[in-house]
Amino acid sequence: MLVLEQTVQEARKEKITEWYKDFFPVVAAYISRRGGEMEDARELFQEALIIFYEKNLAGDFHPEVSAEAYLMGIVKKLWLKQQQNKQRIISFENIEISEEFELKPAVKKVLSFLRQSGEKCMDLLQSFYYEKLSMEQVAGRFGYKSERSATVQKFKCLEKVRDQVKQKSLSYEDFLD
């Protein structure tokens, strides 16, 4: 189980390193040519990698487009968005980038509260719902003896977090806007 978990995290780190080494110089040159600074390139590339990673997880990345072309499409979109300072969804070459990347203060506060009050639950939930690990992998990462125990814990966490979010959101009027 431990080996399985190390493999998941190490594989991701290797992939991120590979993407960084291969594509960041291209992105940096693109941003620099348009008058951007190193900081702009770093921020945009981080956002682009997150979007790219999520598209991969969701199976939305199609190999007929090269990874570089796809990532550059995202970067160009983000750069345009930053320049135009728009807060709405922009659609370009079927790549959608929504404003959810910009967290509202109330959402930040609720997230911060959830991490402080139960980071293990949040980590367990994200490993299944965000990283899309199997329940076997989740059990290994969090030290549960079986998938069944990990599954029960997952639902207990969902229930706990749901109650906390409902309670906490009452304090923040703009949370659900």
């Binding site: 991701r12 940096a28 981080q46 029960v152 639902f155 969902l158 749901r162 409902k166």
Partner: protein
Amino acid sequence: MRISLIEIQEIDNYLLDQDPAQSLVVDVRMLVNPQFKDKVLWQKTVHELVKLHGREKLRFEIQLVERELLTAPKYKSFQERIRSIFKK
């Protein structure tokens, strides 16, 4: 599993679209039972928050890789290449 957890599981299957045959049942329950609808909507919100939490963790991992690539001596040539791009 206790009853409330079974309900959580049913709602999860609905939100993740894992049991299309049961979706209609959940839709009808939401129409006739406002408390149940409330639970579904809050659980959906939790899914969104968990996604944001996962995204922030990923961002942290990316930043660690970035820091290593931009500071570790073994990546000196990469650092010089990037520096040259922004040299005015």
